[in-house]
Structure formats: C-alpha cells, structure tokens
C-alpha cells in the first residue's frame, strides 16, 4: 500500500512514517501543508492519504477541505482524516461524497497501532472507519429523537455502534466476546427495526447504518 501523509507536527509526522513503515506500508511522501499534500497526491496517485485537519497557513480546516477535494478529484484514493477532536459535521461531509474508502479518527487512535493499521487497510479496501467518539455522538443524537434507535436494547446499541465504526461481524463478535452468529442476529434485528434492506457487502451495510443514524438525528 502506497501512502501520502499530511501532518504539520514534525514529531507526529515522523512517528506516523515510522509506524507505517514498520507495518510494511510504503510512505511515498510526508508533507506539512495541505497545498503540498494535494500536489503530492496529484503527482503520486497513492492508494491512501492520511491527513491532519488543522494545518498551515490558517490552522483551521484546510486539511479537511483538501481531503474532500482529493476524494472528489481522485476516486481511487482512499482518505484517512486525523484530528484532535472529532465532530459529526466533518464525518457527514466526508461520507456524503462517495461511498466508502474513508476514515475519520482521533489522532490518539494512532497509538493502538494494530487497530489503526487494520483501519487503514480497511479504508484503503473501500471500507469505512469512524471514530467511536463521533459514532457515540451519532447514536446519542439519533436516540434523543423519538424513533427506532431508542427502542434498541443496550446490546443492540453496542453492536450498532461497532457497525457504525466500520467493524466486521468477526471483529464485533471478538470484541463482545460472543459468536459471529449472535452478532448476525443482532444486526438483522437492527436492520429490521430501521427498515433497511440487508446489504450483501460489509461496506454498504456500514454506510447504510451511518446514513440512517445521521438522518435520524435531524428529524
């Protein structure tokens, strides 16, 4: 996997490069600004872009805007956005452009190296990785309004959260210490409750759930 990194904090950038290379990921370029990032992406056409949101010169949301442009201009390039704080609006913006191939995580998640690299690989393969923090906001928001989300059991809510993070059934089963079969039962119950058609592929399943949650909150 060929990766381009945009991160203005030198230590963190170097840490990321080191981490990825240790895991056999090929870091083709690592830059400190959004402008350079877009140039490198155009030049190298990597498999995945990892970018910070706040970068020079304005230190506002240029990293996110660059990520959105890259997703539009380079359909083959997956994008992982990292930030010190996650919020629903950015997740929605990243997800609504095109299906899958996108991740949005807190920077702190880097430390859990194996999960992080697994997330990178899933995103690169067209999957989704949403930070538990932002998923919690989505689920809480959807439960506040009267609707099916409020009718779910605590266990179903747990499964729902992990689904929204983009996890596979196998991962969810391992995480909850249960069988994959039990997880499938939970997920189909959730699908029934939400009135969603059962999707064949994992990625589509996750997106359907996230979109359902995002829409439920605005009602």
């Amino acid at each position: 996997m060929r990766v381009v990194i945009g991160e203005d904090e030198v230590l963190l950038r170097e840490g990321l490069v080191h981490l990825l290379e240790n895991d056999g990921i090929d870091v083709e370029a690592a830059v400190g600004t959004a402008v350079e990032l877009e140039l490198e992406v155009a030049r190298l056409s990597p498999d995945l872009v990892i970018t910070d949101i706040r970068m020079p010169p304005t230190h506002t949301d240029e990293g996110l805007l660059a990520a959105l442009r890259i997703r539009r201009a380079h359909p083959g390039v997956a994008v992982m956005v990292l930030s010190q704080h996650v919020q629903r609006r950015y997740a929605t913006e990243l997800l609504e452009q095109r299906e899958g191939g996108v991740g949005y995580l807190l920077k702190q998640r880097i430390a859990d190296v194996r999960t992080f690299t697994a997330d990178l690989r899933r995103v690169q393969a067209g999957g989704t990785a949403l930070d538990p923090d932002v998923v919690a906001v989505l689920v809480a928001r959807a439960s506040k309004t009267s609707g099916p989300v409020g009718d779910l059991t605590p266990r179903q809510l747990e499964v729902l959260g992990l689904m929204a993070e983009g996890r596979s059934n196998a991962h969810i089963a391992a995480r909850l210490g249960t069988s994959e079969k039990a997880v499938v039962q939970h997920t189909s119950r959730i699908y029934d409750t939400f009135g969603l058609p059962v999707a064949a592929d994992d990625h589509r399943r996750v997106l359907a759930v996230i979109r359902y949650l995002a829409a439920a909150g605005t009602a």
Partner: protein, 565 residues
C-alpha cells in the same frame, strides 16, 4: 426682588390704576371741561401705567418699569386739575410739568433704571427742581404780578433748557462711546426723549404763533407725552438691555444637555441685558483666554468702558466675562452671573473628564475581553500543538514497546495498560481543550461550534443559524459561543428542560443569540457566576443581554452582539 412677590403686586397696581382712571373718567364726564380732555389724559395715564407694568414684569431687575410708573403718577396728578375739583386743581398745578423731569430721569437712567455718575445725578435732580420747585412761583405768585410771573417763567425756562443741554451732552457722549450693537436702539430713543422734553413746553408758544387752536396744541402735547413710555418700553424689551432674572436664564441654560459654548455667551448677554457681553475661557494649555471658538480674546476687552470680570472655581481661573460698564451698572449682577457661569464651565470640564474616563473604561473592558480571548486561544493552541501531540507519541511509543518481539507477555500487558491510561489522560485533555476553546470554533466558526455543542447535549436540541461564520469578529464569535454553551449547560443542569432551541441570526451589524428551553424557569443572572460573567462580557462588547425566566414556563436568553470588524 423675587418674581413671585412682584407679579401679584404689579397686577394689583394695574387694577388700582384702572380704577383710578375709571374714576377720573366718571368725574370728568360731569366736569366743566369738554369730556375729551379728561378722556385724553386718562388714556395717556393708562399708557404710562401699562408701559411701566409691562417693563417691570418683563425686566424685573431694571428700574425703568418703576420710573415709568412714577411718570404715570405724575401724568395722573398733572391731568387731575381738569376735573375742576379744588384740591385736585392745586395738586395739578404743583405736578403739571413733573412728567418732563421723570422723562429726563428715564433718559439718564436707561437701560438699568439707575443713575450713574455725578453729572447724571445732578442733572436729574436739577430737572426735578425745575418742574417741582421752579414751578411753585407760577401758582404761588398772585396773578396780578405779570412781571414777576414772566420772570419766574423765564428762570424756569432757562434752567430747564440748561438741564436739557446737559442731558443732550451726556447722551451724545454715551452714544459716541456706545457699542455699535446698542446704537440702533439708543439713538432713536435718546432723540425722541430729548425732542419730546424740549418740544412740550415750547410747542405752546410756537404753535400759538401759527394761530393753532389751544385744544389741538394740548392734544399734540398729550400725543408726544404718550409716545415717551412706549418708546422706553420698546427699547427695554427689544434692546435686550435690562436684566431678566439672570440666574433663571442661566440655570435654564445649564439644564440643556449638550449646550454649546456659544450658547452660554448668548444666555449671559441676554440675561444681563448687554448684547456686547462676551465670555472668555481660560485655556490652561495655552495660558491664555480664548473665546468659544478657541481664538484668542482681543486686548480691547480689558479697556474701559469695557469691564473684565474673571471667573474662578475654588481659586482656579476658569474664564472671564467682559461687558460694557455703561450697560450693566451693578457689578454684583455680573459677579452673581459669574458664579453660575463658573458652575457651567466646571460642568463642562467634569463632563469632558467623565466622557474621557468612560471611553477609557469601555476600551479597557474591551481589551480585557480580548485579552482573555487571546489567552484562551493561546492556551488551546499550545495544548493542541504540544501536550496533545506528546500524549499521542507517548501512547504510540508505549504500544510499540508492548508490541515489540522482545517484550515478555507480562510486560506487554503492563505497557498496553499504560497506553490505555495515557489514552484516558488524552481524553481528559481533549475535554479540557474543548472547554477552553472548541476546535470547531477555531476551524469553522460559531455555527459549527454551536452545532457540535447541540450534538453532544444530553437532551434534544435544535439549532437554527443563518450566520456566515467567517464574517464575525473573533471576540463576537467566542462570546456568542460561550453564551450558547452556558445557556445549554444551564438548560440541562438547572432547568430540567426536555428540549432546547438555539437560534443564531444576523440582522445588519448585529448578531442575535437566542437560547430557549422548556424547563422550570426561575433562572436569575445573579444565581451563578456563569451568566454574570457573560453579562459583563456582553456589556464590554457593547451588546445587550436579556434573560426571561418565568417560573414554570421556561428560560429564554436573548443576547445581541455587534458583529465587529
């Protein structure tokens, strides 16, 4: 004299004069002279009385009104002889020409009503002598002594003429030294006065030469006499000479907010009755007197007949009043006005000082808010770029140790646990940074930050915003965010609200923030430091803050903030 006592007295005087005139008319109707004679005398008497009362009423501090009333009395006494009653005939003989000396007195005393200078006093006194003392031989001498009578008449005429010459000289002197502003009134008045006094005694002889009927002569004389009080009254009222109650006028001026310096000079000139009056202001920085426009005061203001009166507040020189000593004869009046002027000047100084210190205060409060905001931003940025990155790296390093091949399973577990604790610390730090200054506010602005707040709230909340975040000043955006955050916290913690609604709207240069919940109400600004601090902040930014929280109905907070540059 106090106005409230003066006015009833003048009213009473008017009624009394009306009665007296009525009596004269009634008796005159049956008198042995044609009726028009007492009627004409009564009319002239009324004119003198009315002029005196009006002048005194309008210019209580001028003696002119009083003198006109003395003239009215002499007119009455002079005309009473026509009624044919014995005592009145004798009284009439005694006071027949007194009105002429009253006129001379009026001329000398105008406009203050008080005599000034020995020449004036002597001339006026001699004038009264001519009409009262030198008149005596005319009615005391036996009528069969024509030689003596002629002699007495000659003496009276000569001395009377002397009085008029002295008066003319005196008045010409005054005209020559008068301020040009005052000439337009003084000149016609003096001319009319002198000519009237000269014409009345002479007219009989002159007109007789042309064989004019004595009745016509009498009527002409009465007409000229009637003109005298009218001339003085008009001069007093239109000339702007005599003092009205200066304290009244000045205190009225003091009451007008934002009165200009030009207005104080005019008010003083009007109230003291000297159009040539000027006020000067002591400019401390230039160590010189300046006028209301800041220009230097000409030297001539110190030279007699101009009088220069300096005004002080607690021995500190603040200004001066320059006036014509002939127009205002009583320096005490100017001193009194000066004290009011001093208060006015001091008020001006204090107002300027207050405005300046208030402006400084407003700016200083704004600076405090901006400094606080800058500090918040700096702390949040330092944490974001420093400690937050450090915790990511520490956790990463710990996990890499745990993952390394040479770590024993026990070590790996322990170090992974350590990594989890670092992650927990990072989560705490994330909440802290968010509370200091949320990322959304830095990255996107108010609406995004408010949306993040609403997203994370424990109760259903709606956000409506039409605000272009990029167009708000940082202080406005941060303040509005803090207000929304505090209001939402209160809605959840204290109001027990089930839902809450946040509206951000921009109208012109104002950002309106409205947060309304359906909780139990009863919230007060004084109850917590949170709202109180925000009130101060809104105030410092020049906004408005309104909290409505009726018991059991809910709480609504409305704040308006200038959008800023």
């Amino acid at each position: 004299m106090r106005t409230d006592a003066l006015r009833p007295a003048l009213l009473f005087l008017s009624v009394f004069a009306l009665g007296l005139g009525g009596l004269q008319l009634a008796v005159g109707a049956v008198a042995p002279v044609p009726f028009w004679v007492p009627a004409a005398f009564t009319a002239v008497f009324f004119i003198w009385t009315a002029a005196g009362v009006i002048a005194w009423w309008q210019r209580p501090l001028s003696g002119t009104g009083g003198l006109l009333l003395v003239g009215a009395v002499s007119m009455f006494l002079g005309g009473a002889g026509n009624l044919g009653l014995p005592v009145l005939i004798e009284l009439s003989a005694v006071f027949a020409t007194m009105v002429l000396s009253v006129t001379v007195h009026l001329l000398h005393a105008f406009p203050s009503g008080r005599l000034r200078g020995t020449l004036s006093v002597v001339t006026v006194a001699v004038g009264y002598g001519v009409t009262l003392v030198l008149q005596a031989p005319l009615y005391l001498l036996p009528p069969d002594q024509p030689l003596l009578l002629d002699l007495a008449l000659w003496v009276q005429s000569v001395v009377g003429l002397g009085v008029m010459v002295a008066t003319a000289v005196f008045l010409i002197g005054r005209l020559r030294s008068a301020d040009p502003k005052n000439l337009r009134v003084l000149l016609p008045l003096y001319l009319y006065g002198i000519l009237a006094v000269l014409a009345i005694p002479m007219s009989a002889n002159v007109l007789r030469i042309f064989d004019v009927d004595t009745a016509v002569v009498g009527l002409i004389q009465l007409a000229v006499l009637a003109g005298i009080p009218i001339a003085f009254l008009l001069s007093v009222l239109l000339g702007g000479f005599s003092q009205t109650a200066e304290a009244d006028a000045l205190s009225a001026w003091l009451g007008i907010a934002g009165s200009t310096r030009a207005a104080v000079g005019e008010a003083l000139a009007r109230s003291l009755g000297d159009d040539s009056l000027r006020v000067a202001y002591w400019a401390d920085d230039r160590q010189a007197f300046v006028d209301e426009h800041g220009a230097d005061v000409p030297e001539g203001e110190h030279v007699p007949p101009r009088i220069w009166h300096e005004v002080r507040v607690e021995s500190r020189l603040v200004g001066a009043i320059s006036y014509d000593g002939r127009m205002i004869t009583d320096p005490e009046i100017v001193r009194r006005a000066g004290r009011v002027f001093a208060i006015a000047l001091d008020r001006e100084r204090l107002t300027a000082a207050l405005v300046a210190s208030n402006e400084a205060l407003v700016l200083s409060r704004l600076r405090i808010v901006e400094t606080a905001d800058r500090e918040r931003s700096r702390i949040a940025r330092d944490l974001h770029d420093g400690l937050q990155v450090q915790l990511v790296l520490l956790a990463l390093e710990a996990q890499q140790i745990a993952n390394s091949d040479d770590a024993s399973p026990a070590t790996a577990d322990a170090v992974t646990a350590l990594r989890h604790r670092i992650d927990d610390a990072a989560a705490d730090l994330r909440r802290l940074v968010h509370a200091v200054l949320p990322s959304a506010l830095v990255e996107r602005g108010l609406t995004a930050a408010a949306e993040d707040l609403v997203d994370r709230l424990d109760i259903p909340a709606t956000l409506i915003s039409d605000v272009d975040d990029r167009a708000l000043a940082p202080a406005t955006a941060q303040s509005a965010y803090l207000i929304v955050a505090e209001a939402l916290t209160n809605a959840v913690k204290h109001s027990g609200a089930r839902t809450v609604r946040v509206e951000l709207t921009r109208t012109g240069g104002l950002l309106q923030v409205r947060v309304a919940d359906d909780g139990r109400g009863g919230a007060r600004v004084e109850d917590g430091t949170g709202l109180k601090g925000l009130v101060d902040r809104v105030d410092a930014l020049g906004g408005s803050f309104e909290l409505q929280s009726p018991e059991g109905v809910g709480t609504e907070l409305r704040v308006e903030l200038p959008c800023g540059s």
